[in-house]
């Protein structure tokens, strides 16, 4: 016992260290996500400070030009190379900082330091003219630059543009707060864990370690597995053109610096352009229509597929029928052929039936799902037949046996099938595309509708991700509702017998 102690303590400390890192990381990111969402709603575009007004501009240009004149005369045969030497940048920097920045700081509403970033300021002689750019930095945090660009026109240098980049955003400002909060929560957790450790009797401490390790492994597993979700969610908030920009220092930091809800607005077609629609049909041609259509199609399909599959699976699993196994084998064989091959003949048949373009057509051919039958049958095989015997002896009819005994026991799997079928029809793009009658935009379902706003060349990843976010919502909701039955259904099985 005593020999185990040091190993245990070391193990415990190691696990604590891992716990700390995981906890800080996770809570840090979670809080960041929270701030991101809040900020995106209140996000205001960066306001560029006023360009110096004309009179001041003149005054400033006089100062600068005087300096350049003096420089030119002091060094005859002056060329642009001279001007680009770092000492020149130094000298002019002085004039620039004291003459301009300090004087006009207030006009810009920002606390510019008088420091010129030498490495990134430059002088350039190109075929289109000469240019000097001074890059100054903001005081605190050194985050953010102000570029002042001068262009030589003849003998005179003129201030051409003032460009502010990478201002400190709200996200930056909240960074410290988020870090602090994450650390506090983590410390709390550590304290709780240590207290629990001290409370457990020494004999059971090894088990405690095992549990701790298990939890940490599971949490890491969840993080890895859920990472795509979070990536998708955070990318949906990124402005067009910035989705793929990486944070070199911390690849896990996937939260954008200037989050925006524009992608979501576009998906919901809440753009001002769209609001000017007068055509009543066009007005309804929007996300909510697609959403409801898809919801209907997917729900109906899921319900009927599950019902039919359950009935068929019951037969194959628990009932008698001549040539049952041969039939089942044949069905399994047909599962092998990819659905791609069936599309044209199925479409042909649907149209001959006059169902082209209807919502019914979108799921009718797929109501007979061999996969569903297979999955349910395999599961029903694990249900002991003695239960069925007992019910039959009690005088139950076949339908009663089916609905009162089998279905409750198979509920978790039935719900899984329901969910999967729902999912399939919710995102079944190709078939629904072929069936949709585009002349009637009101019958368009979600996957097709979302494709409508994917242009030919756009890889508007932000928009695609925000569309995916919307797609996921009903499924997640469905899943959470089904959760209750999952748990009930699963524990019921253990209680019986």
């Amino acid at each position: 016992m005593k020999n185990m102690s040091p190993i245990r303590i070391v193990g415990f400390v190691a696990l604590l260290a891992v716990l700390m890192t995981i906890s800080v990381g996770i809570f840090g990111q979670l809080l960041k996500f929270g701030t991101m969402v809040v900020v995106s709603f209140t996000h205001q575009p960066v306001v560029n400070p006023k360009f110096p007004p004309a009179s001041d501009l003149k005054a400033f240009q006089q100062i600068i030009n005087k300096f350049f004149e003096a420089y030119n005369s002091s060094d005859p045969g002056n060329t642009i190379e001279h001007l680009s030497s770092s000492s020149t940048l130094e000298k002019t920097k002085e004039a620039f900082a004291s003459g301009f920045v300090k004087r006009y700081q207030n006009d810009f509403g920002l606390s510019l330091s008088g420091t010129v970033n030498k490495e990134e300021s430059f002088v350039q002689d190109s075929s289109l003219g000469a240019k000097i750019v001074y890059r100054t930095i903001f005081d605190k945090e050194k985050k953010g630059n102000a570029d002042f660009e001068f262009v030589r026109e003849g003998e005179v240098w003129k201030l051409k543009t003032v460009d502010f980049t990478r201002l400190r955003t709200t996200m930056d400002k909240s960074g410290k707060f988020v870090q602090g909060a994450a650390f506090s929560i983590s410390y709390l957790i550590i304290v709780v864990v240590i207290l629990k450790w001290l409370k457990t009797p020494v004999a059971r401490r090894y088990d405690f370690l095992k549990m701790l390790f298990l939890y940490e492994a599971l949490v890491i597993g969840v993080v890895v597995v859920m990472f795509p979700f979070f990536w998708m969610f955070s990318t949906a908030f990124k402005a067009s053109g910035t989705e793929l920009i990486f944070n070199e220092k911390n690849p896990f930091d996937i939260v954008p610096n200037e989050p925006t809800i524009n992608n979501f607005k576009r998906v919901l077609k809440m753009d001002p352009e769209q609001e000017a629609q007068t055509d009543p049909i066009e007005k309804k041609n929007n996300f909510s229509t697609y959403f409801v259509n898809s919801l209907l199609v997917a729900t109906t399909a899921a319900f009927f597929v599950t019902l039919l599959s359950a009935m068929a699976a019951y037969v194959f699993s628990k009932k008698e029928l001549p040539y049952k196994n041969a039939l089942f084998g044949f069905l399994l064989a047909t599962m092998m052929i990819p659905g791609l091959m069936f599309m044209v003949p199925q479409f042909f048949m649907i149209c001959k039936m006059g169902l082209c373009g209807t919502k019914l057509a979108m799921f009718l051919p797929h109501l007979a799902s061999v996969f569903g039958v297979f999955m349910l049958k395999q599961f029903m095989d694990t249900i002991p037949s003695s239960l069925l015997e007992a019910a039959r002896i009690d005088g139950a009819s076949e339908w009663q046996v089916f609905s009162v005994v089998i279905i409750p026991l198979a509920m978790p799997i039935i719900l899984t099938l329901f969910l999967l079928t729902f999912l399939f029809h919710w995102s079944n793009f190709l078939w629904q595309l072929i069936v949709t009658d585009f002349a009637n935009p009101l019958s368009i379902t979600l996957p097709v509708g979302l494709a409508l706003f994917r242009g030919q060349y756009t890889s508007e990843i932000g928009q695609i991700m925000s569309a995916s976010c919307f797609s996921i919502v009903p499924i997640a909701v469905l899943f959470l509702i089904a959760q209750k039955y999952f748990i009930e259904g699963m524990t019921q099985g253990a209680v019986k017998e």
Binding site: L214, L218, V222, V225, M226, P228, F229, W231, M232, P251, L308, M311, V315, K319, E320, L321, P322, L331, L332, A333, M335, M336, I337, P338, L340, M341, F342, Q346, M349, L364, P365, H366, L367, A368, V370, F374, M375, Q378, F379, T382, E398, F402, P412, I413, T416, L420, L423, I464, I472, I475, A476, F479, L480, F486, M490, T491, G493, A494, K496, E497
Partner: protein, 319 residues
């Protein structure tokens, strides 16, 4: 006697009733397309868009897939890409099916006991199934990317800047691309198998384990001799759907590697992640419907042969 005949008929009758809706829909919407695509495999590419103007080519599609022809350099396969896709699919299935089952089963067992918060974990592991395959493929492609992918960045901490993950990336090399895709798919799909196993595990009464304990059987023995056999139907399901899934896999390849880094084998340039499902889709996309249909039937027959042989082996073993 008459009573027993009547009883039997009644049993069959109720079976038929239960089965009827399914069979009806199957017969209408699946049987005809299956027969149609079977016939399609004997025709060449359509000359126009009507379904009638097709050119009968007999078994030449099949010959093209399976046959060999003579060239100055000796006998060569007619369609090396097809055979290669079978090889790749074999690898794909060979890795993904056992790993997938192990992961799902492992998760199910872990989460089957009295762990606090297990419902949270169950939901969390199942949720990725809900994501669109295309989106998942794109995201994992970005994770695996060299230099800027999350994986590459982490690896520079442990393995320095010039490590493989950073320069070429897992998806950039013929050897590692396929396993990388497999891992991404397992991470997405493990939750599904987990639910199946969990539900089946719950169906096993505690009493059996208690009896085994009394008989002195250890945990591992109990697992081997009680749990696994009782889970057999689910295992079979996972294997069969795994096989079918591997043969028809397409979206994940399309999203992550587009057939993958090319390797040159025997003078032929072949994609290292070009599984049969992807290859078939490419034929379809290129307008070769008859050829694609022929491929799917060849695959079907091959699988049936393999299954048949396997059955024989099993029953031979049991004797």
């Amino acid at each position: 006697m008459i009573v027993s005949i009547l009883k039997m008929k009644k049993e069959n009758f109720s079976s038929l009733l239960f089965l009827l809706p399914f069979l009806l829909l199957f017969g209408i919407f699946l049987l005809f397309p299956i027969i149609y695509s079977f016939f399609l495999s004997f025709y060449g590419s359509p000359k126009d868009f009507s379904l009638s103007n097709l050119e009968w080519v007999g078994i030449s599609n099949y010959v093209q897939i399976l046959g060999i022809h003579q060239t100055p350099a000796g006998w060569k396969l007619n369609d090396p890409s097809f055979w290669w896709s079978l090889v790749v699919t074999l690898f794909y299935g060979g890795i993904s099916i056992p790993l997938g089952i192990a992961a799902s089963l492992g998760l199910a067992i872990l989460l089957n006991n009295k762990l606090a918060g297990k419902n949270f974990f169950r939901s969390a592991f199942f949720l990725p199934n809900v994501l669109d395959m295309l989106v998942v493929g794109v995201i994992w492609g970005l994770i695996y990317a060299p230099k800027y992918g999350a994986l590459a960045q982490i690896s520079t901490i442990f393995l320095g800047k010039d490590n493989f993950l950073n320069t070429t990336g897992l998806l950039g090399s013929g050897l590692t691309a396929l396993p990388a895709v497999v891992i991404a798919m397992i991470l997405k799909g493990a939750g599904f198998g987990m639910i199946l196993f969990l539900a089946a595990l719950q169906n096993i009464p505690e009493a059996i384990y208690e009896a085994a304990d009394i008989d002195g059987a250890g945990k591992w023995e109990q697992f081997r001799l009680i749990t696994i056999p009782l889970l057999k139907p689910i295992l079979i399901f996972m294997v069969i759907t795994g096989v079918i899934g591997s043969l028809n896999a397409f979206t994940e390849i399309y999203a992550m590697t587009s057939g993958g880094p090319q390797v040159v084998v025997g003078g032929e340039t072949l994609g290292s992640t070009s599984v049969s499902g992807y290859y078939l889709y490419k034929q379809f996309e290129g307008g070769k419907y008859g050829y694609a249909a022929a491929i799917s039937y060849v695959l079907l027959i091959l699988t049936l042969i393999v299954t048949f042989l396997q059955q024989k082996l099993f029953s031979a073993e049991h004797r």
